[in-house]
Symmetry: C2
Subunit: 221 residues, 2 copies
DNA sequence: TAGATTGTTAATCGATTAACAATC
DNA sequence: TAGATTGTTAATCGATTAACAATC
């Protein structure tokens, strides 16, 4: 077990996929699986799966494989799902509202504590039981109730400004949905961005006659 | 110039970022840039940038660097922005509506032709001038007006079903926003997924005490 | 026990970085 | 011309795959 070593970004990005497949297997009633079978299902090699898991410990049994439910729980633990994260949503436009109303934060261990906006028409209301406050009250709110993650769904013009405020009060993660690169001081918060446009442009490349791409089959299909 | 070779996924994923930075530089009025300066701005090495670009041609000039506007155009061309893609949106819930109303498809060369839903309350209406049809009319619509990309924002239970219909009528790309893996027959359509949950779970890992991660600084900041 | 499958070490492959001749 | 910077080839680094002893 090569624990303690730095875990590469490639491995971190595969963890949620493992979790997704393991959850699916569990729902189907499958109780055990080998690295070989999981690899076939996911389009990865058995070697890679065993290598990936070995970053975190020993979860299998020789001659048997892995118990689906317990491996799933281990992966959940590794990713920090059980850590009881709290979050706030900055910007209750279409996207912010879509996330609050439809995205199952709690399934991933996050509790949304509040949302913030500038529009007086929605400030004071609540969505799914989550109160919407004036963004001016952000600092005040965070002083009383520290949160781990800020979800940025504001217009891109104010994204960096909001990020600065979040960093100032010591948020540890920023989940950024705007199409700009958020800059934070070295070692302050971690920024994870969902860049819709990057994704669409990659797709555009891949469907353009010349760029059928080599890989990527490894992802889909 | 190593043209004609297969372009790796890593390179394809960086193209949109190049485009983003070049657009920003252009907006700032910067007319020329060297691979060194661009690398510093983006957190990449000059070598990598030159290596990446060399997959597609020669765009610079020794002793000078690159002309921002023309490199930007070249990258746009490479990604297929100028190709005049058309798209339809499947599912006009919160997220579908958020995309239609806020995401600048046209900026990336996509024209949204129609949206589809099952809800009789919205079927027949239009958003931003885009008509919402009954999903039953999907096949009929596509016969008369072929589109390149289907954007899937339906509930995940029906995602695969919709994907099958899209593939059946020969769509070349699927932009999937549901939290499931879409399966398509080998060599039919390209699937590009925006997995919100994968992103949030990666963030969860990174903010969890043990998993401050090694890399990723290479991405943010 | 025999067969299966793990965790890990070694080999391979690919991607990133460094170096440098060409040249604007 | 001298300095800067490209495109490309070679060197390094890291990630994936293969192999295999350990063992359930």
């Amino acid at each position: 077990m090569a624990r303690g070593n730095k875990v590469s970004s490639a491995v971190i990005r595969r963890l949620p996929r493992y979790y997704r497949y393991l959850s699916e297997l569990q729902n189907k009633g499958t109780t055990r699986i080998s690295s070989g079978a999981l690899g076939t299902a996911m389009g990865l090699t058995a070697s890679q799966i065993r290598q990936d898991l070995s970053c975190f410990g020993e979860f299998g049994q020789q001659g048997y494989g892995y118990t689906v439910s317990s491996l799933r729980e281990e992966v959940a633990e590794i990713m920090g799902i059980t850590r009881g994260h709290s979050a706030i949503v900055l910007g209750v436009g279409n996207l912010g509202r879509a996330l609050i109303e439809n995205f199952p934060f709690s399934e991933y261990g996050f509790q949304v504590r509040a949302a913030f906006d500038v529009d007086p028409k929605i400030v004071g209301s609540s969505l799914q039981g989550i109160p919407v406050y004036d963004v001016k009250k952000l600092g005040e709110f965070l002083q009383n109730e520290p949160v781990n993650v800020g979800v940025i769904t504001v217009p891109k013009q104010v994204a960096q400004k909001i990020a600065n405020e979040l960093v100032a009060v010591g948020v540890s993660g920023i989940w950024n949905f705007t199409n700009v690169e958020i800059a934070v001081p070295e070692g302050s918060a971690v920024v994870e961005s969902v860049h819709f446009s990057d994704s669409l442009l990659a797709l555009s490349y891949m469907i353009s006659p010349r760029g059928t791409g080599d890989d990527d089959d490894e992802m889909d299909e």
